[in-house]
Symmetry: C2
Subunit: 119 residues, 2 copies
Amino acid sequence: MNKVNLAEKLALISDHWNPRVVGELNGQHVKIVKFKGEFVWHDHADEDEMFLVVKGRFRMEFRDHAVDLKAGEFLIVPRGVEHRPVAAEEVEVLLFEPAGILHTGTVDSALTRREYEWI
Amino acid sequence: MNKVNLAEKLALISDHWNPRVVGELNGQHVKIVKFKGEFVWHDHADEDEMFLVVKGRFRMEFRDHAVDLKAGEFLIVPRGVEHRPVAAEEVEVLLFEPAGILHTGTVDSALTRREYEWI
């Protein structure tokens, strides 16, 4: 049982759109990720997904609106809702979501990761 | 689907040891709480519990050691492990745990809350 320092773990990450696992509880994963640029449109049929901004800002786009998020703010995207994160500048994000989720949902993209590394 | 600003929500709380719900996903609750002083020793038989410090610092005591946590750090306390948060000064904490958990576990304390208010 060790504490996790988010800034220290985030400093280990230099790539984008590649979530790493930093904790697990009750079948859920805590992940950290850096976004920059545009992700792919996707949804998750069976999983809600939480995005908490640690540093920076990004926009979560939906098909009919968008939500701007900055450090200290979070958004929960309900299952089944199409979304696409877009970050003009690099942003550091904490994710809470069920273990086993695929971050691109059913969309098979060049960005799709099928395994998530612990960091 | 609205974003949550943690500082704005925390500014609404003036009491201690009284978690409020700010989000729900996949059967889990996201809560915020302010600690000050010593909580009661307790455990949760079936739930892991995550503590992420938003502002300030506190010590998580276990029967055989303790972990000091400051802003930007989190700790996951596994189910069945007795623990007691202690905060010399007021600290703001984000909790991630299954909906329906009792924050004092099976310990019936003057601090026990049986319902958690959304804020």
